[in-house]
């Protein structure tokens, strides 16, 4: 079976499982928090929420969603040994990670962008800027690659480790000097999406970081045993 065919089949199965599981509902609730916050501030007469606060909330959503969706999907298959069904077939091992990423990363990205768009509608700007959508969108795709990679490294606690990594370590990295900050997904998502600067280099870094984490995950997949 070709890599492409295997990736597409695994992606399709992953979407069916996602549709029937709880992650989508939980993710939807988490993604609704920034919107609800913006609405609550507005209804309470407090005026419009500071954009920085709203973007900060979105970054928290961005840190949680890849763990909830991608890291858990990858980690559970390894930990529950259902991956044995796949690896006993002529499926390239990497197709498991790539198929799940292909199915789940766009979902996470869409949920994040929808959440941010609604938040901006009730927030200070009234509509999301293209730069913010680009920053958060690419940030979500890269963060999902981080989640996938971590899911292969620590399958048993993939979701928790992914959330902790993106919520703390990645944010701390982003506050470091530039050479280290460049390794932070949230740093680049913020530069592009909130500060709306360094778009091209930031896009390059996010694409590079996403690819790096996927390669880490693929290498790990080749070594794993069911």
């Amino acid at each position: 079976m070709s890599m492409t065919a295997a990736i597409l089949t695994i992606a399709r199965i992953t979407l069916v499982r996602l549709r029937r599981g709880r992650a989508l509902w939980v993710g939807g609730l988490i993604a609704a928090l920034p919107v609800l916050f913006a609405v609550a501030i507005r209804l309470s007469g407090g005026g419009q929420s500071p954009r920085e606060t709203l973007f900060g909330l979105m970054q928290l959503v961005l840190a949680v969603m890849p763990g909830l969706f991608v890291a858990s999907a990858v980690g559970e298959d390894i930990e529950d040994r259902t991956i044995a069904y796949l690896w006993a077939r002529p499926v390239p091992r990497g197709a498991v990670l790539l198929g799940k990423w292909l199915a789940l990363a766009p979902i996470v990205t869409l949920v994040v962008l929808a959440s941010w768009s609604l938040t901006e509608v009730v927030g200070p700007r009234g509509a999301p800027s293209p730069a913010s959508l680009l920053g958060l969108g690419l940030g979500a795709l890269a963060a999902c690659a981080v989640g996938g990679g971590l899911g292969t490294i620590v399958p048993r606690h993939g979701m928790a480790v992914s959330i902790v990594y993106l919520l703390f370590f990645d944010l701390i990295l982003g506050a470091m000097p530039v050479s280290l900050a460049n390794l932070s997904v949230s740093h680049h998502a913020r530069l592009i999406g909130y500060e709306e600067t360094m778009a091209l280099s930031g896009v390059g870094w996010l694409v590079g970081l996403g690819a790096l984490w996927l390669v880490i995950g693929l290498r790990r997949m080749r070594k794993l045993e069911a």
Binding site: M1, A6, T9, I10, I13, V16, R17, R20, G21, D80, R81, T82, A84, Y85, L86, W87, A88, R89, P90, V91, P92, E225, A226
Partner: protein, 330 residues
């Protein structure tokens, strides 16, 4: 550990030496860190149904996972149809594997699961669903195929798992404890189906730690214990190899003491135990003992109601071999 049976003297588990080997393992070992999975296994399988028999933790699942290409050997070589199952993906198209564990993608229906597995095994998408329906029907799961796996009983999960293993029509099946948790009716159906697959040309390796499960499927066995194949071949051939050790014969008759007295003098008889309804004789020369037994029965006109050898049962072979491996054999 030294094998208790001279395996070079035992015909292959599938004695059809004209067929090319399906499995060839040489010096095959697998460790999980410091824990031994299998050790220095040399094994050839040419076809038919082969029962992989051993207690829990003996290394059956490790050997099956090695053959399924799920794990990489630590040492030695394993070839399935001449190819390395871990490195060569193409050979896995010919393998059907049903794991021991029950985990599956519970959110899917049985039909969705089996269809997906058929597709991933290389069946073209339009043909995958009919193939899955056929496999589920063979496992008696047609009525439940649109239900989600999540709500399945253990037996239904087993049957669904077996359907995933056969849907792509592999010619080499690896079934790890396939009858565990299955009710007697389903068990009979599954046994019949596995036999049909073998008659159709598939090579089937079935593991179990339950002796009567293997007996129901085949008399060709490989006994595995502490990571080593202790013996392989037809259970009766193995029995012959261990005939140098006492062979037990149970006789139930109307006057057991007369029979015991006649046999006690024979030098090949190691021990006689008189029970309520008969006696248990242990002999080192079974054929001679059977002859003398028949002569005594005729001479004294004894009425024999039961004559059996517990050692012809797999459990006796298994008990003997594993006891030998532990060093406490008689």
């Amino acid at each position: 550990m030294t094998p208790v049976v001279d395996r070079t003297a035992v015909p292959s588990g599938t004695a059809d030496s004209g067929r090319p080997p399906v499995v060839v393992a040489t010096g095959l070992s697998k460790w999980y860190g410091h824990v031994l999975g299998v050790s220095d296994i040399a094994w050839t399988v040419r076809g038919g149904i082969i029962g992989l028999l051993g207690p829990n933790g003996a290394g059956k699942s490790t050997l099956i996972k090695l053959m399924a290409g799920l794990i990489r050997p630590s040492r030695g070589q394993l070839r399935i149809h001449g190819q390395d199952p871990f490195a060569d993906r193409d050979v896995r198209r010919r393998i059907g594997y049903a794991p021991e564990h029950e985990s599956a993608w519970d959110e899917l229906t049985a039909l969705e699961l089996v269809t997906a597995m058929a597709e991933l095994a290389g069946v073209a998408r339009p043909a995958a669903e009919p193939a899955a329906k056929d496999a589920l029907a063979q496992m008696g799961m047609t009525d439940a195929m649109h239900r989600r796996v999540k709500g399945f009983s253990k037996g239904m999960r087993q049957r669904t798992k077996l359907a995933t293993a056969i849907a792509h029509r592999p010619d080499f099946l690896l079934l790890d404890e396939p009858l565990t948790g299955v009710d007697p009716i389903a068990r009979a159906e599954i046994v019949a189906r596995i036999r049909e697959l073998a008659v159709g040309g598939a090579t089937v390796v079935v593991s179990s730690h339950v002796l009567y499960e293997i007996e129901a499927l085949t008399s060709e066995i490989a006994v595995i214990y502490r990571g080593q194949v202790l013996a392989e071949g037809n259970v009766y051939e193995i029995r012959r190899l261990i005939d140098r050790h006492p062979h037990r014969i149970r006789i139930e008759c109307d006057r057991p003491r007369i029979l015991a007295a006649a046999l006690a003098a024979a030098e090949h008889v190691a021990r006689i135990e008189i029970t309520d309804h008969g006696l248990l004789v242990e002999t080192r020369e079974p054929d001679r003992c059977y002859d003398e037994l028949a002569a005594t029965v005729l001479e004294h006109s004894l009425v024999v109601s039961t004559l059996s050898s517990p050692d012809n049962n797999l459990s006796a072979v298994f008990d003997y071999l594993t006891a030998s491996a532990r060093g406490d054999a008689p």
